[in-house]
Amino acid sequence: MAFAEDDLLAAEAVADVADIEPPDRPSPAVWCSGISKRYGRRAALTSVSLTIERGEVVGLLGPNGAGKTSLIKIMLGLVRADAGEVMLLGRYGHEPGSRSGVGYLPELFRYQPWLTAEEVLAYHARLARLPVDAATRLDLLTTVGLRARAGDRVGRFSKGMQQRLGLAVSMLGDPQLVVLDEPTSALDPVGRADVREILLKLKARGTAVLLNSHLIGEVERVCDRVVILDHGRVAAAGSLDELLGESEVRLRLDGVDDAARRLLGRYGGFEQTGNWVQVRAIPPDEVPDLVAGLVRLGIRVYAVEPGRMTLEDRLLDVLRPGGAR
């Protein structure tokens, strides 16, 4: 895939830059190199490499069975890789201490049913030696909408409530890296909106996040970069701009003249088909200025449509090359 090859070159260029960075540059939140894993005859992961910088929010996308959860579990020392290396927050993954600044919400989220929600948080704080007091634990439960159930046994919680509790557990002690494996799978629309808010807060706080989700819209809204896995390999990776191309806009206009064409030509080129004009490489925040300029020139503007492909379209392009969308 030509695009992905370009990504590889870009990634290697980043690597070259990284090699000459000054010594005080913080190590990446996640650094994986050449991760391979087989389950019997089936290759779950083949030479997967991935870097997440500090404070970066990265979406991990791919079809079922692509190896996303296996990769996450290998990062966190839950599954042994057949080959490859992992570093978390600058420490080798085989050291348990590498996970001391990491929060994790597993895809299979279950917590001790005989404990209360507050006790689950206290237990995880003790395991991770995190100085989290009772007030902070209650604040976390408030953030995920479980304040009123803090003293209830987890065994009485619904799936959605357990997933909310898992989110609170993953944010315990202000981790530098949060790994969320399908964080909204059991949540209602309100819960999904809450998770989006939480992700944006984590991003604003400078926490690195690895988000594995099938909700592509969520990924598109909050992630700085996306990695697409397919059949255990990195099929594509890059920022949203790199993956989706530059922003475009389609305009339905009447009375386009030379002055209007000069205005339309200021951006990355345009193409006119009948009354429709497609303007390439126009930053989204300049579209209103373009429309205002056209109106000032006496052009009648009937429709303005954003033209960039969606992440879902891009994902389907990657996973079904040549297939119809």
Partner: protein
């Protein structure tokens, strides 16, 4: 195809305050295991069984002094002691069954149950060593078994003393051997639960416990009839799983020295022990425990979660 650089970043120096510390993890997990045991319904079942057993045997022991022999006379003190001693061994054997069932069915869910349900995912993703988690669970179960043995046996000894006036010669040693028996069984259950489902590990552990006891009885019969081959069945079973051997240690510590003389010969009686355990056998129990825990931790450390 990569999504990032292939040259490794420089490792950072660990923050000592947040380094994984195994002893603290062991204690934290042990405390949690004890709390789990106290909140599970299996504990209520254990408590109910123990109360029923203690109530029944208090009633039974109270009847012993009033028993009459075929010659229409009262039991002699020696006869009463013999009966009390054998009955005490029988009741403590029932308790060993309860503690075996309890610990085996607690050990299964506490490890394989957490692995199956997904609870272990969040726990093991913390900065903890798996060995520490396993040892913590083991320690918590040992503490639970110790509390049960001390409370249940203590009450039992008080009942026997009040009703019959019989005080076992070495009650603390008996409790120690009973606890050791429970520790052996829960260690086996923990090993099995690192490999099998919760129910299968509990059933197998209790099954092995019962089979070893039966093999011990068969070995005793072999001793009585002078058949070395049959007698060796008991010896081999006590080596493979030391629960029956330790049970003989419990009986030796509970029975009055005069009981063996009064009974003539303890051979073949499953509730009388012919003599104390050898130091070599106790050494083997320690080695057995170390081996089982070693295999358990190695198996658990390498397992994909």
């Amino acid at each position: 195809m990569t999504a990032g650089p292939v040259s490794p970043p420089r490792p950072v120096t660990p923050d000592p305050a947040r380094m994984a510390t195994t002893p603290l993890t062991v204690l934290t997990v042990a405390r949690m295991t004890l709390r789990e045991a106290s909140r599970r319904k299996v504990v209520l079942a254990l408590a109910a069984l123990t109360v029923v057993l203690l109530g029944l045997d208090a009633w039974g022991f109270a009847k012993i002094p009033g028993l009459e022999t075929d010659q229409a006379g009262q039991l002699t003190s020696g006869e009463a002691r013999l009966i009390a001693s054998i009955l005490l061994n029988l009741v403590i054997f029932a308790m060993s069954l309860i503690v075996a069932l309890g610990t085996a069915f607690l050990a299964g869910p506490t490890l394989s149950g957490e692995l199956e349900s997904g609870v272990a995912l969040a726990v093991l993703a913390r900065p903890v060593r798996r060995t520490a988690v396993l040892l913590g669970k083991w320690l918590g179960l040992v503490a639970f078994a110790a509390i049960f043995v001390v409370v249940a046996c203590g009450l039992q000894f008080v009942i026997v003393w009040v009703t019959v006036g019989y005080v076992p010669p070495h009650p603390v040693t008996a409790m120690a051997f009973l606890l050791a028996e429970a520790v052996v069984l829960l260690s086996l259950a923990l090993l099995l639960s690192s490999l099998l489902s919760p129910m299968a590990s509990g059933v197998l552990a209790v099954g092995f416990f019962g089979a070893t006891w039966v093999a011990g009885v068969i070995g005793g019969i072999g001793d009585v009839v002078g058949n070395d081959g049959v007698a060796r069945v008991g010896d081999i079973s006590r080596i493979l799983l030391p629960t029956d051997g330790l049970w003989h240690g419990v009986m030796t510590a509970l029975q009055a020295p005069s009981v063996l003389a009064d009974a003539g010969d303890a051979l073949g009686n499953p509730f009388l022990s012919p003599g104390p355990l050898s130091a070599a056998y106790l050494g083997w129990v320690v080695v057995w425990l170390a081996l089982v825990l070693g295999v358990s931790t190695a198996s658990f450390a390498r397992r994909d979660i």
